[in-house]
């Protein structure tokens, strides 16, 4: 073949979409990388269990004296806690390990490699890693939901009503987190601002009606925590009309588009400023 012009061989097609194959390999490789540290998983599970016990204890303190937290019964409030734990697990499994790396990709310049791959860069930075650490919380969240649902006599309809709002909550959470993580293009120092978001989201442990008026406004319209946990729980309880779910849908789509636009916008700065 010496000196002769290279003719690319025809690309054999893969089964399924390229993104699906890539996604599977992403996760397998990050599982393999984490398997190097087995003790971690045991510690994470223990910690999740302790945290769940603690949160239930904390919630119980409100009900001990006969107070109905924001007008919600004990089991109903447990639903909110269950959705929160589920989302928390999702964040630890996917959002944290991926989006917190954006800052180091930018600081170390390895973002270059990602931008030069013939693949959507938002997909890459969002789906590249998977952490087992979040799995226990997802499970505990589901268990809490199952327990509370059983006490409330839930059937298939209730669960079905709740599933769409939960999916929308996942989208909203992802978009918020992603948009904030993308700001690290400008503020690169040691850490990114997602931990501030995480601390504000703690409010989602409780039904939104348990908050005084001003914070209720804040957690609905400024930072849509209400859509993350309260709306899904209300949907399961059949307490909310289609209107609220529709709003959650609109919020989710808008935020998703916003995160996408914002990513492109911030990359413009990355690509015109780096040296």
């Amino acid at each position: 073949m010496h000196g002769e012009h290279y003719v690319p061989e025809p690309m054999p097609s893969l089964n399924g979409s390229r993104y699906a194959v890539a996604w599977r390999r992403f996760w397998l490789s990050s599982l393999a990388a984490e398997a190097e540290y087995r003790l971690n998983f045991i510690l994470a599970t223990t910690n999740s269990l302790l945290a769940l016990a603690g949160s239930i204890f904390g919630l119980h303190l409100f009900f001990r004296t006969g107070y109905r937290l924001g007008g919600w019964s004990w089991e109903e409030a447990l639903l909110v806690m269950g959705v929160f734990t589920l989302l928390d697990g999702f964040a630890s499994a996917l959002l944290n390990p991926n989006l917190n790396r954006i800052v180091s990709h930018i600081r170390d310049g390895t973002m270059d490699f990602i931008l030069l791959k013939p693949m959507d860069s938002q997909f890459w930075v969002s789906a590249r890693h998977f952490s087992l650490w979040g799995v226990p919380n997802v499970l505990f969240g589901l268990i809490t939901l199952g327990y509370a649902g059983k006490k409330l006599g839930f059937g298939w309809t209730e669960w079905a009503q709740g599933s769409l709002p939960v999916a929308l909550a996942v989208l909203i959470l992802y978009s918020l987190w992603f948009a904030l993580a993308a700001t690290s293009v400008w503020f690169v120092k040691i850490y990114n601002v997602t931990f501030v978001l995480r601390s504000f989201l703690e409010a989602g442990r409780f039904p939104i009606s348990a908050f005084p008026q001003p914070s209720r406004f804040f957690f609905t319209f400024i930072l849509p925590v209400a859509f993350l946990t309260t709306v899904p729980a209300e949907s399961m309880l059949g307490r909310t009309g289609a209107g609220n779910v529709a709003w959650a849908g609109v919020t989710a789509i808008l935020l998703l588009l916003l995160s996408r636009w914002f990513w492109r916008f911030s990359l413009r700065f990355y690509t015109s400023a780096s040296s």
Partner: protein, 327 residues
Amino acid sequence: MALIETHNLSKQYRTADKAPTLAGTIRHFLRRRYRTVEAVKDVSFSIERGEMVGFLGPNGAGKTTCLKMLTGLICPTSGTASVAGHTPFRREHPFLRQITLVMGQKQQLIWDLPPADSFRINAAVYELSDDVLKTRVGELAEMLSLSTQLSQPVRKLSLGERMKAELLAALLHRPDVLFLDEPTLGLDVNAQAAVREFLRDYNRRFGATVLLTSHYMADITALCQRILLIHKGQVIYDGALDRIVQRFAPYREVKIELANVEGQADFTRYGEVLAQDGRVVTLMIQRRNLTETVATLMRELELADLTITDPPVEQIIGRIFTKGNAA
């Protein structure tokens, strides 16, 4: 049309200066004064398919900025660039499939896992089937003389092995155009030679076009027939490596050996004295006076030997950069 073509490519940065005091910080915040830095200025060149071209220049000359504009990582302030018929900054997928960028000081391999795992990920991204992946890894690994290293975690590899594995990962999709930014940085002499050997081999075998920056002269002399000399953001020379000597070194080195030690004269009147060691004197003499001066030397001194050579390329380039102008 040439494979890579740039026309008046320029990149300017705006930077703001800040005084280290508190007052400086406040001023920096309220009313920033910007300064424009011209990292790359009106760079035009074209490269044909299959060429190996070296970007040469001191740190901060604009080599990396050029490379990043050609790969589409940064957007030019003005001017145009075209690589394989694409505008790099659009970063269209068909374009990205044809190029690769290897950076000596950054790595894409997964730290905790063997390189093979990273290859599988790249294979998925570039849609290579398992068979193709296997053949290509086999082929490239052989060229790079890598074997068992591919199944060890990256963190356990030596710097040289890691660089080879990086090259393998970057070339799996068999790109037509290779951009290499300091690919031998920090490697020991043997590893440097191995990387060079591989690049030459790859270029020959697949007809790939290679554009590399390095501040190791040996990389450039070993690989590139053509160099682009960059200084302060501008191309000050574009052409064959051996011709640079004539262009930038209007002088030659004349080494004379005197027949006896006595009667030593003042050699400065013949030319600049580079070295004097006993009876051996090395002089630098302007090319245009060469014949005349040599004749004078032979007439006036009793010589045992006389040799005329070109000064080494490193020395010439070093002179260009310190003098800071295109002679």
